[in-house]
């Protein structure tokens, strides 16, 4: 149980790639924290730097009050679960779980006790005598978690632990992991490229891009108030509408469409400012043409999302997406209007990309 403080961490790889760029982050005690980002954004490098497998070019990492920046991985009392689980093929499950304890010179009786505890917690007692090659992917994942758990670390690091599982198993493992983390109450950092995983698991999360953190917050904040256009475009199962517009006389002009500047930000925008109008398709209701506020255009594509249809509307050459409940979907080519849910409209500055 620890607080992790990362101060101005920079990692430049030989060859000049800046994987981490003066990054600051604090992870609270007992928190399930997810690092999310596109591939190559530096999230795995950050995790490996926390684990001590990479040494930073600059900056400082503290676990609780202790500076661990230059400590060896073994001296940090952390446990890491790798994407491929890194179970040793020549040891059986029991030996695998016991190995870190053996390295740390625990007494035999204590090792036995901890192995059976961990095995029980993850319901893998019946597998103890098997080799990793003889058990399924889901079971291997549990063994890897059990091995990490048996060390009673201050911090868990998970490097995409679910990505090697098939879709069904992944959902099960996700629920299970979340529950386990709640019970153990140990600070956990998870790296993933799968946003649904991050949104579902994390108490708080960070989205990274090009070695920098774009936003830190709760999953709900990410969904409802993305701090900038990068996060807005990255988060969400359907891509957010991000439409270029200009502020003129209290309205935002987006091609021929005019949308009143939301009252909450009226004082923050200037006349003639270039902005980006952000709206999740989930908050843009499609209705028959005729309503005055909102976008009007012809339906280009409709996509079935199960309970809803995702409708792509061509508004003066601008593609805007909205949703409509299953059964009410318009025909392709029909003229419809999209009415934004006014409370959900987000306006970003065009130049900085930040939320106004």
């Amino acid at each position: 149980m620890s607080t992790v403080t990362i101060k101005k961490i920079t990692k430049v790889f030989p060859g000049g790639v800046r994987a981490l760029d003066s990054l600051d982050l604090t992870i609270k005690d007992g928190e399930f924290f997810a690092l999310l980002g596109p591939s190559g954004c530096g999230k795995t490098t950050l995790l490996r730097t926390l684990g001590g497998l990479e040494s930073p070019t600059d900056g400082q990492i503290n676990i609780d009050k202790e500076d661990v920046t230059w400590k060896s991985p073994g001296a940090r009392n952390i446990a890491m679960v790798f994407q491929d689980y890194a179970l040793y093929p020549h040891m059986n499950v029991k030996e695998n779980i016991a190995y870190p304890l053996k390295v740390r010179k625990f007494a035999k009786a204590e090792i036995e006790k901890r192995v059976s505890q961990a095995a029980k917690a993850l319901s893998i007692e019946t597998l103890l005598d098997r080799r990793p090659g003889q058990i399924s992917g889901g079971q291997q994942q549990r063994v890897a978690v059990a091995r990490a758990m048996a060390c009673t670390p201050n911090l868990y690091l998970f490097d995409e632990p679910l990505s090697n599982l098939d879709a069904r198993l992944r959902l099960e493992a996700r629920t299970f992991l979340k529950q386990l983390q709640r019970e153990l109450g140990v600070t956990t950092i998870l790296v993933t490229h799968d946003q649904s995983e991050a949104l579902a698991l994390a108490d708080r999360m960070a989205v990274m891009d090009k070695g920098q953190i774009k936003q830190v917050g709760s999953p709900a904040e990410f969904f409802h108030r993305p701090a900038n256009t990068f996060v807005a475009a990255f988060i969400g199962s359907t891509p957010m509408n991000l439409l270029d517009g200009v502020v003129r006389k209290g309205v935002i002009e987006i091609r021929k469409t005019r949308y009143p500047v939301p009252s909450s930000i009226k004082k923050k925008v200037k006349e003639g400012q270039s902005v980006v109008f952000g709206l999740r398709p989930e908050y843009a209701a499609v209705s028959k043409a005729g309503s005055k506020s909102g976008f009007t255009g012809k339906v280009r594509v409709t996509e079935n999302l199960g309970t809803h249809y995702l409708v792509t509307v061509d508004c003066d050459g601008l593609l805007v997406r909205g949703t409509v409940p299953d059964g009410n979907e318009p025909k392709i080519g029909a003229t419809v209007s999209l009415k934004p849910d006014s409370g959900r409209v987000l306006i970003y500055d065009k130049n900085s990309g930040d939320l106004i």
């Binding site: 491929d84 870190p100 291997q140």
Partner: protein
Amino acid sequence: MSKTRTISEKSMSERVSTAIFIALVVSFFLLPLIWLLLAPFDSAPSYRLHLSNPGLDNFKEMAQNPYAYRSLINSIVFSAGTGLAIILVGAPASYVLSRVKFKGRDGFLYILLLFSSIVSGSAAMVPLFLLALKLNILDTYHGVILVLTGGLLPAAIFILKDFTDSLPKSYEESAQIFGASSFRILKDIVVPVIRPGLAVIFVWTFVQAWSNFLVPFIVIRDVNKQPGAVMMYSFYNEGGQAVIRTVAAFALLYTIPIIVMYYYVNKKYGFRFYGGIKG
């Protein structure tokens, strides 16, 4: 399903002619082996397949030669010594070459491989002799072992590197996070996982050293230190005729250690490889 179909699809005559062809090829390679099994026990062996008055007389006669058995012991010393030296030097070297990336690494490996065939080949005979002379290792066991090791090491490193390459890095990294030292990781994780690879290399080196004629022929002067491969060429009578009785008995004894070792190593370590586990 598909297997039974392909068999039934093939015509009978095609299968018969294939079988006859294979039988001919097999017998071509099998005849010398049968000779090797029969001739040592034949009271009057010749170059034909023949067995009369079977007994152990040939072995008794071979024992009359004071150097014959001794040479097999020497062979074991040379081969096992070379095998151990290759493992001790080659395993760490291949591990480093697998884990540390530097510019021109692959080129370096291929050049190494090229050297391998030169050092123990006949092209390097004279310089090798001179080198051994200057180093004062002529006529010594370690002299032969060093030259053989030098010759076989590059190829061994090349093959071993492939084994270490397929060892996932996460194995070592996870052990590192658990607090294991580098030596501990090598001992507990790396060596056990690539052990079948080490066994393959040991057997391969052993066989290469066992059958090498040139190196001990150049380096060893003292007949007491000569290995079986060189000894085999000394079984002549005063008239310059090969003594087939001794040669036959010796040849059989000469092959046995290789077969026994192969069997033992295969049983104990198995020529298989764990590799990484896929989820």
